[in-house]
Protein backbone atom coordinates (compact mmCIF):
# COMPACT_ATOMS: atom_id res chain seq x y z
CA UNK A 1 0.00 0.00 0.00
CA UNK A 2 1.33 3.40 -0.88
CA UNK A 3 1.13 6.18 1.65
CA UNK A 4 0.11 9.49 0.08
CA UNK A 5 2.82 12.13 0.04
CA UNK A 6 0.62 14.56 1.96
CA UNK A 7 0.41 12.14 4.87
CA UNK A 8 4.19 11.69 4.90
CA UNK A 9 4.71 15.45 4.86
CA UNK A 10 2.24 15.88 7.68
CA UNK A 11 4.02 13.27 9.78
CA UNK A 12 7.40 14.88 9.14
CA UNK A 13 6.13 18.33 10.09
CA UNK A 14 4.55 16.95 13.26
CA UNK A 15 7.85 15.39 14.27
CA UNK A 16 9.81 18.54 13.46
CA UNK A 17 7.59 20.96 15.32
CA UNK A 18 6.58 18.82 18.25
CA UNK A 19 7.78 20.21 21.57
CA UNK A 20 9.21 17.86 24.18
CA UNK A 21 6.15 17.37 26.32
CA UNK A 22 5.81 16.93 30.04
CA UNK A 23 5.46 13.28 30.91
CA UNK A 24 2.17 12.03 32.34
CA UNK A 25 2.90 9.71 35.26
CA UNK A 26 1.20 7.55 37.88
CA UNK A 27 1.83 7.59 41.63
CA UNK A 28 4.28 4.69 41.37
CA UNK A 29 6.57 6.67 39.08
CA UNK A 30 6.33 9.71 41.34
CA UNK A 31 7.34 7.59 44.33
CA UNK A 32 10.24 6.11 42.39
CA UNK A 33 11.35 9.63 41.55
CA UNK A 34 11.11 10.71 45.21
CA UNK A 35 13.03 7.64 46.41
CA UNK A 36 15.67 7.53 43.66
CA UNK A 37 19.25 7.84 44.96
CA UNK A 38 21.29 10.67 43.49
CA UNK A 39 24.21 12.92 44.44
CA UNK A 40 21.97 15.94 43.97
CA UNK A 41 19.39 17.64 46.15
CA UNK A 42 15.92 16.99 44.74
CA UNK A 43 13.45 19.85 44.86
CA UNK A 44 9.96 18.60 44.01
CA UNK A 45 7.25 21.23 43.72
CA UNK A 46 3.54 20.42 43.46
CA UNK A 47 1.60 22.99 41.47
CA UNK A 48 -1.26 23.55 39.03
CA UNK A 49 -2.03 26.06 36.29
CA UNK A 50 -5.04 27.34 38.29
CA UNK A 51 -2.98 27.96 41.44
CA UNK A 52 -1.96 31.66 41.65
CA UNK A 53 0.63 31.32 44.46
CA UNK A 54 2.21 28.37 42.59
CA UNK A 55 2.71 30.49 39.50
CA UNK A 56 4.06 33.34 41.61
CA UNK A 57 6.79 31.14 43.13
CA UNK A 58 7.63 29.27 39.91
CA UNK A 59 10.43 31.67 38.80
CA UNK A 60 12.28 30.77 42.02
CA UNK A 61 12.34 27.10 40.98
CA UNK A 62 13.31 27.99 37.43
CA UNK A 63 16.19 30.12 38.71
CA UNK A 64 17.32 27.31 41.01
CA UNK A 65 17.17 24.84 38.14
CA UNK A 66 19.26 27.07 35.89
CA UNK A 67 21.87 28.10 38.45
CA UNK A 68 22.49 25.16 40.76
CA UNK A 69 24.29 22.17 39.28
CA UNK A 70 23.81 20.08 42.41
CA UNK A 71 20.04 20.63 42.53
CA UNK A 72 17.46 18.76 40.48
CA UNK A 73 14.14 20.58 40.17
CA UNK A 74 10.92 18.75 39.28
CA UNK A 75 7.59 20.51 38.88
CA UNK A 76 4.72 18.07 39.40
CA UNK A 77 1.44 19.32 37.93
CA UNK A 78 -1.78 18.36 39.74
CA UNK A 79 -4.00 19.71 36.97
CA UNK A 80 -5.46 16.37 35.89
CA UNK A 81 -7.24 15.94 39.22
CA UNK A 82 -9.72 18.60 38.11
CA UNK A 83 -9.40 18.54 34.32
CA UNK A 84 -8.41 15.34 32.46
CA UNK A 85 -7.15 17.28 29.44
CA UNK A 86 -3.37 18.02 29.77
CA UNK A 87 -3.46 20.61 26.96
CA UNK A 88 -3.76 23.50 29.43
CA UNK A 89 -0.53 22.38 31.11
CA UNK A 90 1.34 22.03 27.80
CA UNK A 91 0.22 25.51 26.72
CA UNK A 92 1.26 26.99 30.06
CA UNK A 93 4.75 25.43 29.85
CA UNK A 94 5.10 26.67 26.30
CA UNK A 95 3.98 30.19 27.03
CA UNK A 96 6.15 30.53 30.12
CA UNK A 97 9.08 28.74 28.46
CA UNK A 98 9.52 26.50 31.52
CA UNK A 99 12.90 24.75 31.48
CA UNK A 100 12.69 22.56 34.61
CA UNK A 101 11.58 18.96 34.34
CA UNK A 102 7.78 18.75 34.48
CA UNK A 103 5.71 15.69 35.39
CA UNK A 104 1.92 15.55 35.25
CA UNK A 105 0.38 13.30 37.88
CA UNK A 106 -2.56 11.26 36.60
CA UNK A 107 -4.29 9.90 39.68
CA UNK A 108 -7.81 10.22 41.04
CA UNK A 109 -9.16 9.82 44.58
CA UNK A 110 -6.47 12.00 46.25
CA UNK A 111 -7.27 10.68 49.73
CA UNK A 112 -5.84 7.33 48.70
CA UNK A 113 -2.41 8.70 47.79
CA UNK A 114 -1.65 12.12 49.38
CA UNK A 115 -0.25 10.47 52.52
CA UNK A 116 1.97 8.28 50.37
CA UNK A 117 3.64 11.38 48.94
CA UNK A 118 4.06 13.05 52.34
CA UNK A 119 2.17 12.51 55.60
CA UNK A 120 2.42 16.22 56.44
CA UNK A 121 0.65 17.26 53.23
CA UNK A 122 -3.00 18.32 53.49
CA UNK A 123 -3.30 18.27 49.70
CA UNK A 124 -3.38 22.05 49.36
CA UNK A 125 -1.19 23.71 46.72
CA UNK A 126 1.54 24.82 46.49
CA UNK A 127 3.64 22.25 48.34
CA UNK A 128 7.34 21.47 48.05
CA UNK A 129 9.55 18.57 49.12
CA UNK A 130 13.31 19.01 49.39
CA UNK A 131 15.32 15.80 49.60
CA UNK A 132 19.00 15.08 49.97
CA UNK A 133 19.36 12.44 47.24
CA UNK A 134 22.17 10.68 49.11
CA UNK A 135 21.00 10.62 52.73
CA UNK A 136 17.26 10.84 52.15
CA UNK A 137 16.96 13.74 54.62
CA UNK A 138 13.88 15.71 53.67
CA UNK A 139 11.87 18.86 54.32
CA UNK A 140 8.24 19.45 53.45
CA UNK A 141 6.64 22.89 53.07
CA UNK A 142 3.00 23.55 52.32
CA UNK A 143 2.85 27.22 51.32
CA UNK A 144 4.19 29.70 48.80
CA UNK A 145 7.96 30.18 49.04
CA UNK A 146 9.71 33.51 48.79
CA UNK A 147 13.08 34.71 47.55
CA UNK A 148 15.94 33.14 49.52
CA UNK A 149 13.87 30.47 51.26
CA UNK A 150 14.77 27.64 48.88
CA UNK A 151 18.48 28.17 49.46
CA UNK A 152 17.92 27.97 53.23
CA UNK A 153 15.85 24.80 52.94
CA UNK A 154 18.45 23.16 50.70
CA UNK A 155 21.16 24.03 53.24
CA UNK A 156 19.05 22.35 55.94
CA UNK A 157 19.08 18.95 54.22
CA UNK A 158 22.78 19.04 53.35
Amino acid sequence: MRVPLSVILLLISLTLFAQPKAEIIKLKQLQEHIQAKTDKVKVINFWATWCAPCIKEMPLFEKLNAERQNVEVTLVSMDLDLDPNPEKVYKFLDRRKIKSQVLILDERDPNSWIDQVDKNWSGALPATIIINGKTGKRKFIERELHEGELEKLIAEVL
Binding site: D81, L82, P84, R108, P110, N111, D115, E142, E144
Partner: protein
Protein backbone atom coordinates in the same frame (compact mmCIF):
# COMPACT_ATOMS: atom_id res chain seq x y z
CA UNK B 1 3.81 40.68 95.69
CA UNK B 2 6.85 38.72 94.60
CA UNK B 3 4.78 35.56 94.70
CA UNK B 4 2.17 36.93 92.33
CA UNK B 5 4.83 38.15 89.92
CA UNK B 6 6.42 34.71 89.92
CA UNK B 7 3.02 33.15 89.34
CA UNK B 8 2.41 35.44 86.37
CA UNK B 9 5.84 34.60 84.97
CA UNK B 10 5.11 30.91 85.37
CA UNK B 11 1.83 31.39 83.51
CA UNK B 12 3.63 33.19 80.68
CA UNK B 13 6.19 30.41 80.38
CA UNK B 14 3.38 27.85 80.34
CA UNK B 15 1.51 29.68 77.57
CA UNK B 16 4.67 30.06 75.53
CA UNK B 17 5.54 26.38 75.93
CA UNK B 18 2.10 25.09 74.86
CA UNK B 19 2.57 23.69 71.37
CA UNK B 20 0.58 25.29 68.57
CA UNK B 21 -2.44 23.12 67.87
CA UNK B 22 -3.13 22.59 64.23
CA UNK B 23 -6.89 22.60 64.50
CA UNK B 24 -9.68 20.33 65.63
CA UNK B 25 -9.43 16.57 65.63
CA UNK B 26 -12.26 14.05 65.48
CA UNK B 27 -14.28 14.21 68.72
CA UNK B 28 -13.05 17.69 69.71
CA UNK B 29 -15.58 20.19 71.03
CA UNK B 30 -16.02 23.14 68.68
CA UNK B 31 -15.80 26.57 70.32
CA UNK B 32 -18.66 28.95 69.58
CA UNK B 33 -18.01 31.48 66.82
CA UNK B 34 -19.80 34.51 65.51
CA UNK B 35 -19.17 35.76 61.97
CA UNK B 36 -20.69 38.27 59.57
CA UNK B 37 -23.09 36.82 57.02
CA UNK B 38 -23.63 38.17 53.49
CA UNK B 39 -27.07 39.34 54.66
CA UNK B 40 -25.32 41.78 56.99
CA UNK B 41 -26.40 39.92 60.14
CA UNK B 42 -24.10 37.77 62.23
CA UNK B 43 -24.38 34.01 62.54
CA UNK B 44 -23.05 32.00 65.47
CA UNK B 45 -22.66 28.30 66.14
CA UNK B 46 -24.99 28.71 69.12
CA UNK B 47 -27.77 29.66 66.66
CA UNK B 48 -27.86 25.96 65.70
CA UNK B 49 -28.35 24.59 69.21
CA UNK B 50 -31.62 22.96 68.14
CA UNK B 51 -30.26 21.13 65.09
CA UNK B 52 -28.82 17.60 65.16
CA UNK B 53 -25.58 18.84 63.70
CA UNK B 54 -23.98 21.14 61.18
CA UNK B 55 -22.00 20.94 57.95
CA UNK B 56 -19.26 23.60 57.98
CA UNK B 57 -17.56 24.18 54.64
CA UNK B 58 -14.57 26.50 54.32
CA UNK B 59 -15.30 27.78 50.84
CA UNK B 60 -14.65 30.74 48.57
CA UNK B 61 -15.63 32.31 45.24
CA UNK B 62 -12.35 32.01 43.38
CA UNK B 63 -10.85 28.55 43.88
CA UNK B 64 -11.49 26.20 40.93
CA UNK B 65 -12.21 23.40 43.42
CA UNK B 66 -14.83 25.57 45.13
CA UNK B 67 -16.34 26.20 41.73
CA UNK B 68 -16.30 22.50 40.86
CA UNK B 69 -18.03 21.67 44.17
CA UNK B 70 -20.45 24.62 44.24
CA UNK B 71 -23.52 22.72 43.03
CA UNK B 72 -22.69 19.81 45.34
CA UNK B 73 -22.44 22.17 48.33
CA UNK B 74 -25.83 23.71 47.50
CA UNK B 75 -27.28 20.20 47.11
CA UNK B 76 -25.88 19.04 50.48
CA UNK B 77 -27.74 21.84 52.26
CA UNK B 78 -30.96 21.12 50.29
CA UNK B 79 -30.80 17.46 51.22
CA UNK B 80 -29.63 17.61 54.83
CA UNK B 81 -30.97 20.91 56.26
CA UNK B 82 -34.49 19.38 56.49
CA UNK B 83 -32.95 16.33 58.21
CA UNK B 84 -31.27 18.41 60.92
CA UNK B 85 -27.86 18.96 59.31
CA UNK B 86 -27.90 22.43 57.74
CA UNK B 87 -24.83 23.84 56.01
CA UNK B 88 -22.78 26.93 56.82
CA UNK B 89 -20.11 28.19 54.43
CA UNK B 90 -17.19 30.19 55.83
CA UNK B 91 -14.93 32.21 53.52
CA UNK B 92 -11.41 32.11 55.02
CA UNK B 93 -9.30 33.92 52.39
CA UNK B 94 -7.72 37.32 53.00
CA UNK B 95 -9.45 39.59 50.43
CA UNK B 96 -6.28 41.67 50.20
CA UNK B 97 -4.62 38.66 48.57
CA UNK B 98 -7.69 37.32 46.83
CA UNK B 99 -9.84 40.30 45.74
CA UNK B 100 -12.43 37.96 44.21
CA UNK B 101 -13.23 36.80 47.74
CA UNK B 102 -14.07 40.22 49.19
CA UNK B 103 -17.27 40.63 51.21
CA UNK B 104 -18.90 42.44 48.25
CA UNK B 105 -18.02 39.58 45.91
CA UNK B 106 -19.32 37.08 48.47
CA UNK B 107 -22.67 38.91 48.51
CA UNK B 108 -22.79 38.71 44.69
CA UNK B 109 -21.95 35.00 44.70
CA UNK B 110 -24.62 34.22 47.32
CA UNK B 111 -27.22 36.14 45.32
CA UNK B 112 -26.24 34.67 41.97
CA UNK B 113 -26.27 31.10 43.27
CA UNK B 114 -29.30 31.71 45.49
CA UNK B 115 -27.59 30.41 48.62
CA UNK B 116 -30.13 29.17 51.16
CA UNK B 117 -27.39 28.90 53.79
CA UNK B 118 -25.16 31.48 55.51
CA UNK B 119 -22.01 32.54 53.68
CA UNK B 120 -19.79 34.00 56.39
CA UNK B 121 -16.60 36.01 56.18
CA UNK B 122 -13.87 35.00 58.63
CA UNK B 123 -12.25 38.42 58.61
CA UNK B 124 -9.69 37.72 61.35
CA UNK B 125 -9.16 34.09 60.17
CA UNK B 126 -9.39 33.04 63.84
CA UNK B 127 -12.21 30.56 63.19
CA UNK B 128 -10.44 29.01 60.19
CA UNK B 129 -7.28 28.62 62.28
CA UNK B 130 -9.24 27.09 65.17
CA UNK B 131 -10.76 24.49 62.85
CA UNK B 132 -7.41 23.82 61.20
CA UNK B 133 -8.82 24.45 57.75
CA UNK B 134 -6.11 24.24 55.09
CA UNK B 135 -7.83 24.44 51.72
CA UNK B 136 -11.11 25.21 49.98
CA UNK B 137 -13.58 23.53 50.05
CA UNK B 138 -12.54 21.92 53.37
CA UNK B 139 -15.53 20.32 55.11
CA UNK B 140 -16.27 19.58 58.78
CA UNK B 141 -19.35 17.64 59.88
CA UNK B 142 -20.32 18.55 63.45
CA UNK B 143 -22.60 16.56 65.73
CA UNK B 144 -24.70 18.25 68.39
CA UNK B 145 -24.40 16.38 71.68
CA UNK B 146 -26.71 18.07 74.15
CA UNK B 147 -25.74 21.56 73.13
CA UNK B 148 -22.04 20.99 72.47
CA UNK B 149 -20.89 20.52 68.92
CA UNK B 150 -18.28 17.83 68.37
CA UNK B 151 -16.29 17.14 65.20
CA UNK B 152 -17.44 13.92 63.50
CA UNK B 153 -15.82 14.17 60.07
CA UNK B 154 -13.04 16.28 58.49
CA UNK B 155 -12.07 16.44 54.84
CA UNK B 156 -13.36 16.25 51.32
CA UNK B 157 -17.00 16.14 50.19
CA UNK B 158 -16.33 13.14 47.96
CA UNK B 159 -13.51 11.43 46.05
CA UNK B 160 -14.09 13.07 42.67
CA UNK B 161 -13.27 16.78 42.41
CA UNK B 162 -13.68 16.67 38.67
CA UNK B 163 -17.33 15.67 38.53
CA UNK B 164 -20.07 14.62 40.92
CA UNK B 165 -21.03 11.74 38.62
CA UNK B 166 -17.57 10.18 38.99
CA UNK B 167 -17.74 10.01 42.80
CA UNK B 168 -17.42 6.50 44.20
CA UNK B 169 -17.18 7.59 47.83
CA UNK B 170 -19.41 10.41 49.05
CA UNK B 171 -17.65 11.00 52.38
CA UNK B 172 -19.86 13.77 53.79
CA UNK B 173 -23.12 12.05 52.84
CA UNK B 174 -21.90 8.73 54.25
CA UNK B 175 -20.95 10.45 57.51
CA UNK B 176 -24.29 12.22 57.91
CA UNK B 177 -26.35 9.15 56.95
CA UNK B 178 -24.45 7.15 59.57
CA UNK B 179 -24.91 9.88 62.20
CA UNK B 180 -28.64 10.06 61.42
CA UNK B 181 -29.06 6.33 61.90
CA UNK B 182 -26.75 6.19 64.92
CA UNK B 183 -24.21 3.99 63.18
CA UNK B 184 -20.43 4.19 63.01
CA UNK B 185 -18.79 5.12 59.74
CA UNK B 186 -15.35 4.08 58.55
CA UNK B 187 -13.92 7.24 57.01
CA UNK B 188 -13.49 9.98 59.63
CA UNK B 189 -10.81 12.00 57.88
CA UNK B 190 -9.86 12.45 54.25
CA UNK B 191 -7.45 14.57 52.27
CA UNK B 192 -7.98 16.28 48.93
CA UNK B 193 -6.06 18.39 46.47
CA UNK B 194 -7.26 21.97 46.78
CA UNK B 195 -6.45 25.66 46.90
CA UNK B 196 -4.52 26.65 49.99
CA UNK B 197 -6.22 29.24 52.19
CA UNK B 198 -4.82 32.72 51.55
CA UNK B 199 -3.65 33.67 55.05
CA UNK B 200 -2.98 37.26 55.95
CA UNK B 201 0.72 38.14 55.87
CA UNK B 202 2.09 37.85 59.36
Amino acid sequence: MLKSILFMLACLVFVAATPVKSGYDIGDVVADFKLKNVTGKSVSLADYKNSKGLIVVFDCNTCPYSKAYNERIIALNKKYAPQGYPLVAIQPNDPAQSPGDSFEEMIKQAEKKKYEFPYLLDETQVVSRAFGATNTPHTFVLKNEGGTFKVAYIGAIDDSSRDAAGAKKKYVEEAIEALLSGKDFPTLRTKAVGCSIKWKNA
